[in-house]
Subunit: 438 residues, 2 copies
């Protein structure tokens, strides 16, 4: 499933690789600024980063998918309206405050777009907003309006997309950039997202830029197709966010690719970013790649994969390098009645080793040792006791490798299949999210 099989031995190695991915497609510039503010709702000072991505001129070839959460943020409400606009000229993205359910949130969001539009000399409808961070807080509007000219002044293509990949992060351990190069031009994507993640027909904050010549409707169809096969098949904590958004946007300054090659390249960028998001998920020690085959439909395969990925007991077992196959079968059995399927022909493999077949577990002490070894090789890091015993922090801020725990279930019921990405559950996740208003 991953298009790469990278190993990084240090943050410096990872940074060098990111820098090599970061070249912007023709026609785009990035500007970032950072500032402090006082939230009205909480007693502690906070930091916000404002990220601007601007095109040389507004272009019609853009696509966006938004969260299906019934309590969406103001940028989602405004963003849905933008889909009808004739062209997109800028993305304005802030972290720290998601602008969800805040009184006056839509008006504040529109004020940020209007100010951005004035500074860039483009229509307000050509500015697409995005926000991520605490739910319920109001945007610090005056501080943002004061910071916007700095972001505009910083606009540059020289450092590529790396400043934006860093600027949109919240609890992410590291920035995420993926690219695909075609003879006619390139596709470059960035993503943030480490918690509150089980996308539902949209996802996290993901921005994909291209210079490949493609029409708006084709881009929208291809983005929906690629998202269904990438971001919609991952879960870190089952908590579909109020602010998820995927945007794809082309300057059209490059050549016209074969449509099939474009689709494949777009899916590769989305699929790699989806893997990156899970690998960098809050407190993730193991990525789980759960392939469900022999399903009567792709939907059933995805639902069973997600049942395994979202099982807290499977997640904890994986953390402990415990090949607890009983919990995997129990998780499949939990949702099978709701899906109306029979598990009589179920077989399950972990790391290519058969652990369940013909209605019974197939286990012995040698297999157990081999399964344990498979989990250990997929481990990104182990929890280390912190000095004060409570506040676990990941010891690394780069992805050491791209290996995963490979779980395969065959239902013996049909021809459909799907692969779902999940993660384990760790002390670091608890620390991150039990912290007072993380």
């Amino acid at each position: 499933m991953p298009s790469t099989d990278l190993v990084f031995r240090s943050q410096a190695e990872h940074r060098a690789w990111l820098a090599a991915q970061a070249a912007l497609p023709r026609g785009f510039r990035v500007g970032v600024t950072r500032f402090a503010f006082e939230p009205a709702e909480a007693p502690k000072r906070a930091q916000m980063t404002l990220t601007l991505i601007a095109a040389a001129q507004p272009t019609p070839a853009f696509a966006a998918l938004f969260t299906r959460n019934a309590c969406p943020g103001a940028p989602i409400i405004v963003g849905r309206q933008r889909l009808a606009a004739p062209a997109l000229g800028a993305l304005v993205i802030n972290n720290k405050v998601s602008n969800v359910g805040a009184p006056g949130g839509v008006a504040d969001c529109e004020a940020v777009c209007a100010a951005t539009a004035r500074l860039l000399g483009i229509p307000e409808s050509a500015v697409l907003p995005a926000s991520t961070g605490v739910i319920g807080w109001k945007l610090p509007l005056s501080a943002m309006l004061a910071a916007l000219p700095e972001a505009v002044a910083a606009l540059s293509a020289a450092q590529g997309i790396l400043p934006a990949a860093e600027g949109i992060c919240t609890t992410d351990l590291y920035p995420k950039i993926r690219r695909a190069d075609l003879p006619e031009g390139s596709i470059v994507g960035i993503a943030k997202g480490a918690g509150m993640i089980e996308p539902n027909l949209a996802t996290m904050l993901v921005f994909v830029l291209s210079d490949l010549a493609i029409e708006r409707e084709a881009l929208r169809a291809d983005l929906a197709w690629a998202v269904e096969r990438s971001f919609n098949r991952l879960t870190i904590d089952s908590d579909t966010s109020t602010s998820d958004m995927v945007v794809a946007w082309s300057s059209g300054l490059g050549g016209r690719p074969e449509r099939a090659a474009f689709r494949t390249a777009l899916l590769r960028v989305c699929g790699d970013l989806a893997e990156d998001i899970v690998r960098n998920g809050e407190g993730v020690h193991h990525v789980l790649r759960i392939r469900v085959r022999g399903a009567p439909s792709e939907g059933v395969a995805v639902a069973l994969g997600k049942a395994v990925a979202n099982s807290p007991l499977v997640q904890c077992a994986m953390l402990g390098n415990d090949p607890n196959v009983g919990r995997i079968v129990a998780a499949l059995g939990k949702v099978a009645p709701q899906l109306g399927i029979d598990l009589a022909r179920l077989s399950v493999e972990i790391g290519g080793i058969v652990v369940y077949r013909d209605g019974a577990f197939r286990l012995d002490r040698d297999k157990e040792a081999a399964l344990h070894a498979h989990l250990r090789q997929a481990e990104l890091y182990a929890s280390a006791p912190p000095a004060e015993g409570l506040r676990f922090r990941p010891p690394i801020s780069w992805p050491p490798h791209e290996r995963a725990v490979e779980i395969a279930a065959d239902l013996g019921l049909g021809e459909a299949e799907a692969t779902v990405l999940g993660a384990d559950r760790s002390h670091e996740y608890i620390t991150e999210n039990a912290d007072y208003r993380s």
Copy 2:
């Protein structure tokens, strides 16, 4: 919702209270034995407790509900057949090995029932088996058959149901007993269950004994009614077990109660045990009592309550005494589209304090302090840094109080309502379940 509001300052106080609840209904005896064995599947020695509950003579008035997990344990498969038997004479219950998916599991289960029946001089069909513990392991049959005569020899009514309440435990911190006394007789229930818990039309291991005169069909109807309103509305970790079972059983040696009084008493015992199970859930620091009102149906109210209870981010916030209302609204918004309901009229209260109304959060620093105080008063204990920094253990082995975090959502859509019980997610849960084959 709880029928009591108890406070315990020590394990001794809790034990004294349990002993006062433990008197058996007329016609029942309990026998327990414990022994060590060598699992075939794992390298370490294990302990098993065998618990026998026997009636003076087999009686027809029994009812049982079983898990809907599609991969049920052998005792569930055998137990479903027992529903057609003319009478029940004994329950035989083991912990440590759940006998799920083990090769030859049903035959082993039947061998235990047959041996029990021979020793008691009753038909094999009058013995109902139950197992809980590791999934995938085989029952240690010869060790169990060797231990059974000891359990039969130990049969006694003198210590009441307490030895059984202890004998069925696995990762439970303490035994759970609840009773209701009517003029004509009594109802006494015990429960085990601390992880892999989101019952689906059946639950955990729960055994309810009575001497009240009631017909089999009436008992079966009333048990289904009470379970729907108690165990089916709680979740600790969303993982519906392969081995859940609730049994209600009357000796009929007492008087005949009013049917309505019987139902109410049965629901009280089931409801109190449900609260006990969540309070004693693995690593639980806070019980969450989520009341959803104004719903178009009870099913919608339960689904929304469970979405909040099963949100990892809500769970972690509660652990940290963080009234993170954004995560509660996000969890409701996550499932609302699947339920086809509109949240425009949603209001949310925590501890009686309005936090969301008319599409926006209603928050300020004073409310924040009051919400934080509400969470703190509901805390059962706080995580303490363990000596070696990784292996968190609950510092108490009794329930210090019965207070909960009170979350109320009003949808403004109808007259239906339901209360769901949930819990926070802690370092102690991770430690418990990441341990190699806990």
